[in-house]
């Protein structure tokens, strides 16, 4: 068991998440982690590796195989004053817990007029691109964004993973915390000593690349794809500003609209299907708030409106660099544009 606790280190996102959990547990003895296979096995992605040895079975709880049970008992633990961190083994297995999340976790604070708090963090290994089996590559974030009472965040790098997980656990509100599986092994520098209060709040977006022509909004593993697209576009003389939303609910519209007012053109990319997805929310709010600054319709580059396809075909579903650049072309009114649909 390696216990990473201080200093600066180059860590994979997986290790950074583990370090964040360990730190949160060390800082607050009311923090518990629970889920399927998270104890002895350390989770199927090993994120909780070593925690059982370090904190014991009272705080690292291997649960029965039942997601509603996991979230439902977490609600009870929260009522008792604990801060449960729940692991849902894969994105596609969160649905059995949907009722407990939507009707209980999200609503108890409101229903009790603030008397009950639900400081529950629901960690979800998330999204595609890893060649996984059916139900293992889902992007369900819009369901939770549409659910009032939840906060929803998605991380894109080890430092955010470490810091935002601690912030999520420290939040008195429930947080659905999306971890891109595709990035679990991606490395980055992590400052393990930073105080979470000093870090950017979990609710803020980050401009990860400055640009002037097009605002490219995304989150999670798509941030890397967006950065690649921005680099490729630069070669063609197009300057793309890339924003990592980090928080999907609330969205940091201050940062987003500032960029859009500057560029006047927006492309949004995510893996989830587009219909009533996160990009739709962004476009609606951006249009409302920046209409007169827009020089072209904001465009979506998303997964198709299909169930997640088999692994060998996922590359045709996931929005890649080419599809993003195609949209950039269109938003800049360059060739390849699709005509408006005939009425």
């Amino acid at each position: 068991m390696t216990s990473i606790t201080t200093g600066k280190a180059s860590l994979t996102m997986g290790k950074a998440l583990g370090a964040g959990l360990r730190r949160a547990m060390a800082d607050d003895e009311r923090v518990l982690v629970m889920g399927e296979d998270i104890g002895k096995l350390g989770g199927v992605f090993r994120i909780t590796d070593g925690l059982l040895d370090e904190f014991g079975p009272a705080r690292v709880i291997d649960t029965p195989l039942a997601e509603s049970g996991i979230v439902g008992t977490a609600v009870g633990l929260a009522l008792r004053g604990f801060r449960p961190v729940v692991e849902i083994q894969f994105d596609g297995f969160v649905y059995p817990a949907f009722d407990q999340i939507v009707c209980q976790v999200a609503k108890l604070h409101y229903r009790t007029r603030g008397r009950v708090r639900m400081p529950i963090t629901i960690r979800i290994p998330w999204a595609g691109g890893v060649g996984a089996a059916e139900h293992h590559s889902e992007s369900p974030e819009a369901y939770f964004v549409h659910t009032a009472g939840l906060r929803v965040v998605a991380v894109s790098n080890p430092q955010d993973a470490y810091t935002m997980l601690r912030q999520a656990i420290a939040s008195d509100d429930p947080v659905v915390f999306f971890e891109p599986k595709r990035l679990y092994h991606a490395k980055g520098d992590v400052d393990l000593d930073a105080h979470i209060a000093d870090a950017a709040p979990m609710g803020l977006a980050r401009v990860v690349r400055q640009g002037t022509d097009v605002t490219l909004l995304t989150y999670g593993a798509q941030v890397a794809t967006a950065m690649d697209a921005a680099t490729a576009a630069e070669d063609e003389g197009v300057s793309i500003e890339v924003i990592d939303l980090r928080s999907l609910s609330p969205v940091d519209y201050r940062t987003v609209t500032a960029s859009v007012r500057k560029t006047g053109r927006v492309v949004i990319t995510h893996e989830a299907p587009g219909e009533a997805g996160m990009a739709a929310e962004l476009i609606a709010s951006i249009t409302e708030q920046c209409f007169h600054h827009l020089e072209a319709p904001p465009l979506r580059v998303t997964g198709h409106d299909i169930p997640y396809p088999p692994a060998k075909l996922e590359k045709h579903h996931l929005p890649d660099l080419d599809r993003i650049l195609d949209a950039v072309d269109r938003v800049l009114d360059r060739p390849n544009s699709f005509p408006e649909v005939a009425p």
Binding site: G72, L79, Q104, Y110, T112
Partner: protein
Amino acid sequence: MTYTPTTDAEHRSDLDEPVQLLTPAGERRRDPRLDEWADDLDLDALRGLYRDMTLARRVDAEGVALQRQGQLGLWAPAQGQEAIQVASARACRADDFLFPSYREHGVLLVRGAAPADLVLSWRGEVASTYDPAELRVAPPQIIIGAQTLHAVGYAMGIQRDGADQVAVAYFGDGATSQGDVNEAMVFAASFSAPVVFVCSNNHWAISEPVTVQAAHPIAGRAPGFGIPSMRVDGNDAIACTAAMRWALDHARSGGGPVFLEAVTYRMGPHTTSDDPSRYRSNDEVDRWRAKDPLARLEALLRAEGAFDDAFRADVDADALSYTTQMRSAAIDAVSAPPLSVLDHVYAEPHSGLDEQRRRFSAYLDGFGDDEGGAR
């Protein structure tokens, strides 16, 4: 047809006679399974039970009346179920934590709920009233069965705190069909959580007889999960007290979860919106009327010379005072202002909702003092 469950609500589950210590006629019986938990119940204790059960019944009648008069949006009558509700809650320690459903008015009463707590949510003014931490009662649950998992989780928390409290999950016969209730049993058994499941089998889930939910007596399900269980006469306040004491003691002393099936009956409609004549016979209701929980306790107290006019007058006065306060709480209720609908969604600032509040507030300001709208 073989694939249709029997629609007779008094069904196979009555093959196992529930434990009874007080007959419908008011005679005290003995039963070795529960005697040790009932023998110390003196007349004062029985009068206390009677008082609370009477209060529960009057509160229930008042709830129905207030709904009929348009003061409440809805009410879920609990008439007939007073014994299990009151007796089980009275058996609890003040620091145990209870997770009721929408029908457990008697539980709230015993825990000290104020008259307003009984009416304001049914009136539609608030989703819940009392502070759960103060009463040590979760807000009554409407999503069938969801609270059983909360109780188990709470009980897991008790274990972690090294405390000797117990969590109590209340639910109905219909709820036993929900996945959540079964998962609650799995978790409770696996973790030996100090939780008592109190299933009030009132024979009906709206129009569905218990036989649609359970082909086998409900209490028989728990042992298969590794949870000891008991069927108890849910209209017998003495047996309910004793069974609950046994269950609480078992859970409190580290024995793990216990499951009680209280066999009772919902005398009224499912809610004030329901019309039970569509699905059950008057005969059936009459049969159960003969097993009334209050009547039998009154008969016992009378036989023991512990029930006189003064006591009756005293109980009536208490009930009247409470229901009068319920009535005024309903009638005098002032609805919260428009902007309050945005309160308490989050415990911490939320940029999206804060912006929405700003806009809605500006919008509302646009009306000035004219309640009637901008036009």
